[in-house]
Every structure is written in structure tokens, then in C-alpha cells.
């Protein structure tokens, strides 16, 4: 392990006097930083200097105009994550506050209201039961004797509904009746003391808001690439989370071709928590994959030979959310864990957990963030341990005594005010003693042998802090490639650096922006506005993982960059290495080759322009078409999934009000006059309620429901964009009719035969099913589009067909009806078939491969493994 004979000059100041700069848009450009004599060995020859930043670097050119989907979109509907609109107050008040440049307002009342509506039992349980006889909710008048002990609540409910409808009205007046009621009941109506509940809700809102401002849970990323031992192998395994709650872990074999292709073999594990991080490292010829969810961490072993199944090894449970999990590159089955309580553990599969540190305080100065990180270093027994203020190294053999500071946010590293560590990463594969540290402003390379002084520093100018990073080490004389990724903005930045042993560390070549997932949006064919919106929402989801793979094919080298989004989509892009000579030749032929490939806004080179490599491009287009088709199928199943709830007209008026005869009366005219007057003045109508009951009802809203003639149905379908699907449905409509007729016939036959004998009913139900299945086999099934087999959620779509009454099918009710135990199952099957219809979705293939993993309690003693 050589140390550079001379380092770049730099000042070393201690202290906390930091420069106040903030994010600077162009801070990373135009500086060499320092220079150093390039070849100190030969004095006689011509003097040559090398810059700390600058130099040519390697040229990596993107092969396609956008990132290409690697896998078909997971059919499971993605639960959209929290957006500011969900918890912020918006309305008139908000607009007023914004105009005054005030801070954001959390919509506390709405959240509290949600609680009362969603959990009425918890909120009002016992008092509701006590009082329900005394509250009357009907329309009719109360009888005289009941009036003594009962209150009629209808008017109150009406008032509340009206209040809802008028929400946001600046001249909204509090209705005295509501005031009176709330004053009366506030102290005793609620099960949970209101003050306490409000406190909790408020705290939770603040936590959620902090998470929206900066969410550090995906730090490290949930995507890993396992490459086999022999370099020539054009294969690898991608490990990533998926499923509706991102709680399924997939091991997907991928073949590296012109465009990487997923092989049909897929191993899947179901976990009982959202997967936050997937970390992997190779030790002793085997890959170890660590998986972190909030309260569980697990480790899998993947044997080096391909197509060997990964085996789960151990799981631990933590009481406090874990913030970091890293896998040792030195010793097999060793991992480092940090929890948000400030504890750092060394986790060995053989010997269990060893706590190295437990300190809720941050290391160098006070910072409120509970985030901690730990990674391995050049010494297998020494772990790095980081929080937002810096990084230390701890010796696991004597963690209290033996530790040293490796990096500190301060003057030593020339940090700015407010700068915080975002992601540390051990760069052992490039150089055994180097670490990467990213902050929201800069990226640093530090060397364990010279702590506190960064070997490299560069302001990365990214819009969001880089939470993801991946290293591709370069061989002898080559530069190491680091890809930085931001979660929220999906930015990807490729940096190159070299040195560390013979020569000092240098940043070479200009930084390069890679395609983000959302970047493909401009290249896609024009969509209908609402489809475009859905597509945009899907593609702009925050990034959740990053991995790169180096592919060598003779003298050709390419770098594959995989990107995972929070929706579980995996996209991939290829960068082709251009050797220096050819690069220069190309430049002499066609000057500024980079400038020619500029896309005019609106054009879509991915789909329209003739390709410079037709094969690759054609493939990419095909991938996109398949992906879009798969995705649009999902849209049909979830109509208006993300639309905000709206109040229907019916709520504004009671049935009685709607029943009043129509016709312009004096009151109507008066109301119209008021309206016109109010509009003229631009004001509000103030005394409205006196005449509210005399309004004419609005015509019922048009809803595209059944009962339309086929032309209208077709037009409606083509307007919503799923005309193809409508046609398929239509063509299968006759099929369904025939099935219904058949079912009806069988039912009639059965009713006749049912009384004959027991055995007959068995055979009949059997034949019935087989007939149906024959029929369903003939139904036009879409041919499999790609060789990959991805789990598809079977029952996630709302079924319009009648669902069998659960109560009817429960064994209790069947027993009540005197049906003997041995026949209950037959009956239940029969009924469910009747109700569901024959077009049962196929048994998802995932079940063959899936193994429940987290309840692995027998494989380790949890009590021993409990973290604090």
C-alpha cells in the first residue's frame, strides 16, 4: 500500500469558523484547485505539472437518448407517497399567508378530523354507546315522550355539511348551534383526551413534514448488482425491492446484451416491511446481501456460481428504526448496523451482535438528526461511524479507547456553514484506504492514512443531496468512476478520479450528467392529457436505488447504470467507453461531436430520428412500447385512482329539500337577484339560509355508466383513451354472455338434480367446473409479452362482479342452516364459483418461488438479537 510521495498543497485550519455561502450554482467549474509536479523523479527533463482537478479523463458516451426500462412495470398499484398537499393547509388562508411570505401551515384540523372519521370507535367508543339512544338522526319529528331524553341531531348534521361545502369562504360565519354543541361536549365526548390527541397528531405532522423536506431513509439505495467472479461472464444478478409496499425482495438474473435482458428466473422473498436499503459485498467468493427495512435487517447469501438460489441467513429485529446496513467486503457474513438511537453494531452471522457505540449525541457538534451510518475500512476490525457532523473510525476490539476522527464538518475540510454529511461510502474496491463522503454541497474523498484532510473536494452542484452513490473501480492506470444519485430529483452525475497510491488523488474529466428516469418523458409518443399526467407521476417518482455494472466485450467496454424508482421501476442506460485515440480522431473529423447530438425541444430522437446504431435503438423503442402497454393496462383497472375526493351534490341538500316542486317562485327570483348583485359587486351573499330550502335541484350529473348505446360507449372509451380495451371487452362480451347462459342452465339443472342424491351433486359441481374451465381456456388470453415472469397482483383490481356474501359463506352461518360439516366446503366452492364467474385470474406464478422470509424465528434467538 503505497502513499503518494507528495500531496497537493493545502491549508489546514482547525476550528468552526465556516464560510457562509449556501448552495452555489456554478461553484464546481473553472478551478484547478492546486497543482503538483507531475513526475518528481526526473529533474532534468521538461517541467510538467498536473492539476488537482482537470485533465482529460475517460470519455463515456450514452448509447441511447434516454434510460430504457429493464423490467416490465410491476402491475401492482403503487401507493403514492405523501405529498405536501396532503398535510399542508391550502385554501384562502394559505394563499394569504403565502402572499405574506409566511412559513407553511400544517393542516392540523384536517388530520384530526380524519382521525375521528377513520377511527370513530377509538374516538367516541363508549360514550357513543351510552348516548346513542339520546341522539336522534332521522328526518321525522320526535314524539312527545321521547323529546325529554332525546336530541334531534339532523339540523346539526346539516349545518356541518353546509360548513364543509362552504369551506374556504372568507366570510364564513360560525353557526351558533355548532358553537353551542362543541362548547357543551368538548370536555367529555372524546374517549382520548383531546389535548393529548392533538399533541400527538401535531408531533406526527411535524415528523411527516420533516420527512417531506428531507427524507434520509433511502440513504444507500435499494438496488444492488452482483457480478460473477469471472470478468468475461455476460451475466449478473440484480437485487431490488418491489411489490405494492416495496416489501418483496427480488433476485433477478440479468443477461448483459446490447440492452440488458432479464432472464425468466426470478427468486422472490416476501418481507414484512418496506425495504429501504439493499447493500451487497463480495467476501471470500460469495456475495452477501444485506436488506434493511425500518425495524428489521436481514442477510442473504448468494453463491458465486450463477443460477444458484440465494439463501436467507439471519434476521434481526430492532426497536428503533435502523438507519444503515453495510456488508463487510473483508470477512464473510459480517455487517454493520446503525440505529436511530445512536447505536452502532457489528453483526456477525456466527457470533451475533456486538455493540460498538451507543451515543444519542452527535460527535463533533450538536445536530438534531438521529441518522447514523457505519461502514468498513481497510482494517477488517475497524469500522467507520458517521453522523451528520462527521466521521470517526472505531476499533471493534476496543471501541471506547481506540478511535480517531476521519472527517469533520469544519474548517479542516474547508466546509461551509450548514454543511452536513449525507452519505459516506467505503471505496475499498478502488483503493483500500479511501472513503467517499458526500454532503449537500460537495463531495470529498478522504484517506484513512491522512485523516481530517480531504484528498479531494469538489462542489457537485446537484439540486438535491446525493443519497446514492456507486463505485466502479478502474484498473491500473485507469480512472475510478463514481456515480452520484439524488433521490428527489433523480439526478445522476458521473465523476472520475484517479490516484491515491503512487500519485496524489486527482479529479479527472468534466462531470457528466446521466439520463434520469423522468428524462424519457419528452421522447415518448404524445399521450392524452390525463395519461400524460399519470405517466409523469409514475416516471417522476423519487429514485430509490442505483447500481452500475461494467461490461467488457473484447476491447469494447460499457458501463451499465441501473436506476430504481420508488414505484419499483428499474431503468437502465448504457455508456460506451471511447478510447482516447478514437476520440481524438472523431474530434478531428467532426468538430465538437458532443454538440451535434443536441435534441431540439419537442423532438424525440429516441423514437423518430434514424439511429446511429439501429439495433440498439430499435430495441429501446420496443422496450418502451411494451412498457407503456403494460402500464396503460394498469390504468384501466384503477380509474380515478389519485383524484382528490369531491363532495357530491346530494350532500348539500337533504332529500326533503330536493323533493320540493320546481318552478320559479318569488324566492327564486329574489335569489337570482342577490346572486347577480353579488356578482356585480364581487362580494358574497350573506343571508342565504332563509331561502335555502326553496332552491331547484340541479340536474343530476352526467356519469358515463352502463345503459349507453354502443356508439356512445365507444366514444366515451376512446375519449378516456382505452378504446383498445373497450374493443377487447366488447369482443369478449359475447363470450361472457354465453358463459352466463351456461351458468344459468347448470344452475337450473342442479336445482332439479339437487334433490336426487348426494353423489350426484358432487359430480355435477365437478363437471360444471371443468366445463367452465374449458370455456375459459378458449378465451383470448394476451400472449406473454416478454420472457420475464413478474408477479402480478391478482386481486388488486376492483371486481365489478358480485362478490359472494361473506356472511353467507362463513362456516358459522352454514352450520346455522343445518348443513353438515363435510358438505360445507363443497357448498362454499360452489357459491364462490357462481359469484366469481369462470374468468378467475391465473394463479400468480410468484407463489412457486416465493418464500416467506421474515418469520425466520427459528434460525436465531430473537432475544439475543434484540437491539435497543
Amino acid at each position: 500500500m503505497e502513499f503518494p510521495a507528495a500531496l497537493f498543497p493545502s491549508y489546514f485550519g482547525a476550528g468552526s469558523h465556516l464560510e457562509e455561502r449556501g448552495p452555489a450554482p456554478a461553484a464546481g467549474w473553472g478551478e484547478h484547485g492546486q497543482v503538483l509536479e507531475a513526475s518528481p523523479g526526473r529533474r532534468q527533463a521538461e517541467m510538467a505539472f498536473m492539476p488537482r482537478r482537470g485533465g482529460m479523463g475517460e470519455s463515456w458516451k450514452p448509447a441511447d437518448a434516454a434510460a430504457v426500462p429493464l423490467l416490465p412495470p410491476s402491475a401492482s398499484s403503487w401507493i403514492p407517497s405523501l405529498v405536501p398537499q396532503d398535510i399542508l393547509y391550502h385554501g384562502v388562508l394559505h394563499r394569504k399567508l403565502q402572499a405574506g411570505k409566511s412559513r407553511v401551515t400544517l393542516d392540523f384540523t384536517k388530520q384530526l378530523g380524519h382521525f375521528f372519521v377513520d377511527h370513530p370507535e377509538d374516538a367516541f367508543g363508549s360514550l357513543g354507546q351510552l348516548l346513542h339512544q339520546n341522539f336522534y338522526l332521522g328526518d321525522s319529528k320526535l314524539r312527545r315522550q321521547a323529546r325529554d331524553s332525546t336530541i334531534r341531531m339532523t339540523a346539526l348534521v346539516e349545518e356541518i355539511n353546509r360548513l364543509k361545502a362552504r369551506r374556504g369562504c372568507p366570510r364564513q360565519r360560525l353557526v351558533p348551534r355548532l358553537r353551542w354543541f362543541s362548547h357543551l361536549c368538548r370536555d367529555w365526548l372524546f374517549e382520548v383526551p383531546l389535548g393529548l390527541l392533538a399533541d400527538c397528531v401535531h408531533k406526527e405532522l411535524l415528523v411527516q413534514w420533516a420527512g417531506l423536506l428531507f427524507d434520509d431513509s433511502p440513504t444507500g439505495g435499494a438496488l444492488a448488482w452482483l457480478s460473477p467472479e469471472d470478468v468475461g461472464a455476460q451475466m449478473g444478478c440484480l437485487v431490488y425491492p418491489g411489490g405494492q409496499a416495496m416489501n418483496h425482495l427480488y433476485f433477478q438474473d440479468v443477461v448483459l446484451e446490447e440492452l440488458p435482458r432479464a432472464r425468466p428466473s426470478l427468486t422472490q422473498f416476501e418481507l414484512n416491511g418496506r425495504i429501504r436499503q439493499v447493500a451487497a459485498a463480495q467476501a471470500d467468493g460469495e456475495d452477501f446481501v444485506g436488506v434493511r427495512s425500518d425495524y428489521h435487517c436481514g442477510v442473504w447469501r448468494v453463491p458465486s456460481r450463477m443460477s444458484a438460489a440465494p439463501t436467507p441467513l439471519q434476521v434481526i429485529h430492532t426497536n428503533v428504526p435502523a438507519s444503515c446496513l453495510t456488508v463487510s467486503p473483508h470477512l464473510p457474513g459480517e455487517l454493520a448496523i446503525c440505529t436511530q438511537s445512536g447505536a452502532v453494531y457489528l453483526w456477525s452471522i456466527e457470533t451475533g451482535l456486538q455493540r460498538l457505540r451507543h451515543d444519542p449525541q452527535t460527535m463533533f457538534f450538536r445536530d438534531h438528526s438521529p441518522w447514523r451510518w457505519s461502514d468498513f475500512t481497510a482494517h477488517p476490525r475497524v469500522l467507520s461511524c458517521a453522523d451528520r457532523t462527521g466521521m470517526q473510525c472505531l476499533d471493534a476490539r476496543a471501541p471506547e479507547r481506540c478511535h480517531f476522527d476521519l472527517f469533520k464538518v469544519g474548517e479542516e475540510a474547508g466546509c461551509q456553514q450548514g454543511e452536513r454529511v449525507v452519505l459516506p461510502m467505503y471505496l475499498g474496491r478502488a483503493h483500500p484506504s479511501q472513503h467517499l463522503i458526500t454532503t449537500q454541497f460537495s463531495v470529498y474523498v478522504v484517506d484513512e492514512r491522512l485523516p481530517m484532510v480531504p484528498m479531494l473536494k469538489w462542489p457537485h452542484m446537484m439540486k438535491a443531496p446525493p443519497l446514492l452513490a456507486h463505485l466502479t473501480p478502474g484498473g491500473a492506470g485507469r480512472s475510478h468512476k463514481v456515480v452520484l444519485g439524488a433521490s428527489l430529483t433523480q439526478e445522476l452525475l458521473l465523476l472520475q478520479y484517479q490516484g491515491g497510491s503512487q500519485s496524489a488523488c486527482q479529479l479527472v474529466g468534466p462531470p457528466q450528467k446521466l439520463h434520469s428516469i423522468a428524462g424519457c418523458l419528452q421522447h415518448l409518443p404524445t399521450q392524452l392529457p390525463h395519461h400524460h399526467h399519470l405517466l409523469q407521476q409514475r416516471l417522476c417518482a423519487p429514485a430509490a436505488g442505483l447500481a452500475t455494472a461494467l461490461q467488457k466485450n473484447g476491447s469494447h467496454e460499457s458501463l451499465l447504470v441501473f436506476q430504481l424508482s420508488e414505484t419499483g421501476d428499474v431503468f437502465c442506460q448504457r455508456l460506451i467507453h471511447e478510447a482516447v485515440l478514437t476520440h481524438e480522431a472523431a474530434q478531428s473529423h467532426a468538430p465538437t461531436s458532443g454538440d451535434e447530438a443536441v435534441a431540439a425541444p419537442g423532438s424525440s430522437p429516441l423514437f423518430e430520428t434514424p439511429a446511429h446504431s439501429p439495433l440498439g435503438l430499435g430495441n429501446a423503442v420496443l422496450r418502451y412500447h411494451r412498457w407503456l402497454k403494460e402500464l396503460s393496462k394498469g390504468w384501466g383497472e384503477h380509474p380515478r385512482h389519485n383524484w382528490p375526493p369531491t363532495f357530491s351534490q346530494k350532500r348539500l341538500f337533504t332529500r326533503k329539500e330536493l323533493e320540493t316542486p320546481m318552478g320559479p317562485s318569488t324566492l327564486h327570483q329574489q335569489a337570482r337577484q342577490w346572486l347577480r348583485h353579488a356578482m356585480w359587486e364581487g362580494g358574497c351573499i350573506q343571508c342565504w339560509d332563509t331561502s335555502a330550502s326553496k332552491f331547484c335541484p340541479l340536474p343530476p350529473t352526467m356519469e358515463p355508466t352502463a345503459g349507453l348505446d354502443s356508439l356512445s360507449a365507444r366514444l366515451t372509451a376512446s375519449w378516456t383513451g382505452d378504446w383498445c380495451q373497450w374493443w377487447e371487452e366488447r369482443s369478449s362480451f359475447n363470450m361472457a354472455q354465453r358463459q352466463r347462459a351456461l351458468r344459468e342452465r347448470r344452475r337450473r339443472q342442479k336445482r332439479v338434480r339437487g334433490r336426487c342424491s348426494l353423489s350426484a351433486s358432487f359430480t355435477s359441481s365437478l363437471t360444471y367446473q371443468s366445463e367452465l374451465s374449458e370455456l375459459s381456456d378458449t378465451a383470448p388470453l394476451p400472449p406473454p409479452l416478454s420472457p420475464t415472469v413478474l408477479p402480478r397482483e391478482a386481486g388488486s383490481s376492483p371486481q365489478p362482479s358480485p362478490v359472494p356474501d361473506e356472511a353467507l359463506l362463513s362456516s358459522q352461518s352454514l352450520r346455522c342452516r343445518g348443513i353438515p360439516k363435510e358438505r360445507r366446503k363443497t357448498l362454499r366452492d360452489y357459491l364462490s364459483v357462481c359469484a366469481d364467474g369462470p374468468l378467475e385470474p391465473q394463479e400468480p406464478l410468484e407463489s412457486q418461488a416465493s418464500q416467506a422470509c421474515i418469520p425466520l424465528a427459528q434460525s436465531l434467538s430473537l432475544s439475543q438479537a434484540l437491539l435497543s
Binding site: L7, P380, S433, Q587
Partner: protein
Amino acid sequence: SSHEHRLNFKKSKEVCLNYVQDAMLQKQWKRAAEFLTFYIESLEKDFSRECIGPSEMIWRIGTEILYRHSHSSMKEFSSFIEQMKTLGVKRYLKVCLEHAFHLLCNGLIDEAYQNLSLAESWQFGEQTAIQDKEMKLIQAYRGLLDYYSWSKQKNILLEHGLDGFEDLPAEQEMHHCFRKAAVNLKEIIKIPGVWDLFVKCYVDLLEFYGDRNEAHQVLSEYAYNSKFPANPNAHVYLYQFLKRHGESKKSLISVLKILHDIVPSHELMIDFNTMLQKSKKRKKRRLGLEVIFAALDYAGWKENVKAWNCMARQVKQIVISKKHLDWIKQEWNSRKDWWPAFHFSRYLAKRNWQGNESLSYEKALVAGILLGKDSKYFKYVSHQGCKAQVKRFRILKKFVNKHNPV
């Protein structure tokens, strides 16, 4: 409406800057340059109070484009930089320094020297702390260039000196260069920092003029002043200096001992170990064993034949002499739970055997002594060695079978 206008102007400025950045990050330098020409308009109404104002951004972005653009020439670059120097007073020194760096990297040493001298004479009001630092750096780099011209003249004179020819003016010129270099270099190395290049040059100057004490003092100050970072190179320079001047083994060992304490994985640890092994004192030999064990703890040494050779030699010596077996035991105790998996696994045995036979030989010897003849590593390698009929592996097997594991 003036407020609105200002807002719009700000917005379009930001958009323009985004375009520039985007183009640069995609290596479209020509496009970036075109956008930058529009951005220059923003200088007209510079209302910003941000730390990096438009003028600095134009300097940074323009410089970067001119570095990277295939059609830019040094002349264009210099004229651009000259304009930038006049654009901001606060940034003048920084721009000069960066300009000099660029000239140096392109081999234009004389131009860089002129530039630095010019910058050195610049004065404007009271200097801020940052400007002070920049000024010191400018002086130091100028000192460095003075040192290089001194060294050039020295070489010429030495050649001529052999011919018996004396050139008084040239010699005076050389001494003049020395004085200029020494003053500036001496100045910067007083300030805490990493000054490897400057210290080396300064020490070279002092050594040439025979000021050994001063050189020694400078080097010890650089290595041992606690205000300086724990730079391993400082200790290396001191060690090399002492070795050059034939200092005693004792003082060399004490320098290396400190280096061992700071960076146990330094490459000089091999020399240190060899030096200690040769020593007659028990304590030193003991330290030698510690040093080599500690070095091999690090992942960077895993496949270093030299280090394993040192280790094997010393361990073998101890086993044969049957004295101080407890030293090995003590070192081994703290490592026995992880060294087998880290160094002596079957997978590594296979890989080492295929990759480097002599490495696997040395490691097998150590594994045999530390873990016994049943260790996976030893078993695999000795088996393969015997199969391939390599003599030393047969001897190795015999040796390990004869001596009990520690």
C-alpha cells in the same frame, strides 16, 4: 412594475444559467458557450447579494468552457482571464492563481512566473483572511518556480564546474534565485497545512548550502508540530533525510516507530521490520513482529509477497529457535477469530495458488505454523505443491509436520 421587471429578469437569468449548466454537464461546450453569451447580459443589472454573483459565475463557467472546448487557444484563454481579473476586486488573486495553474499545466512556466509576480505586487485596501491565504500561496508558488530555475542553473553550473570553468555571473544569478525561493518557501511552511512540495524544495536548498541543522529543524517541525495534520509524508521525509546523512539506527527506528503508530499500514513498515529483525535487542525483535502483524491486518497488504515473506521469515526463525513462542501466541490471540477467514480460507488458497505461487508458499508456511497442519490453506497449498512436484513445498510440509502449531 420595476419590481416585476426585476423579478422577470431574475427568473430568466436563472433559466439561462440552468441551460448553461445542463449543456456543460452533457459536455456540449459549444452550446454552453452560446448560452453563456446571453447570460453575460445579466452583468448589466447585478442586484444579487449572493456570495457567488454573476461575475464569478461567468468566470467559472467561461474558464471551464475554454478548458474543455476543442477550439479554444491559450491566447483566447488569457484574454478572457484578463477581462475577468478586472471584473471583481475580491476575486483578483484567486483568478490570478488559477490562471497561473492553467499556464503551468500547459507547460508555460515563464508566463506563469510573470503572472505570479504581477499578482504578488497587487495591492488593494485591506486584505481579508482569504486573500491573505491566496497571497501566501501565490508567493509560495513563485518561490517554487524560483527553486526550479535555481535547480536548473545549479545543474548547468555543476556540469560546467566539472570542466573547470567558472562563471561568476551565473553563479550569482543562482544565488539570487536561491534567496528569492528560500524567503517565500520558508514563509508558507510555517503555516499549518500540507506543504509536501514546498518542504521538499526548501530542504533541498538548505542541504545544498550545507545548512543541515536548519533542514533538520524544518523537517521535525513539519512532522511533529501538533498544529499540522498527521501527514505520513512528513515522517517519511524526515526518515529519508536522516538516512541520507547516515544517522544512527536508533534515531531512524524512533522516526519509524512514530510513523508506525500513525499509519501501521505504511509501505515503510517492511523496511522497519527488516531493520528490527536484524537488531540484537529482544525488545526490538518483538516490536518487529508486532509491526509485521499489524501491517498484514490491512486489506491493502493481503497479497503483498514481500510482507508475507518478512512474516514467514520471522515466524520461522522463532519456531526453529523455540525461543519467544509466546510472542507469536500473544499476537495471534487477538487475531485468531478473524485471520483464518480473512487470510487463510480455502477460497483464498485456491486463488493465491493460481495467481501467485510464491505468495501462496509464504502464506502456507505462516498458516501451517499459526493454525497447524490441518488448516485449510496449508492443506490445499501443500497438496497442490506436492502434486506439482515443487521441492520447496515438500520441505514446507515436512517442516510444518515437525513443528507443533503455536
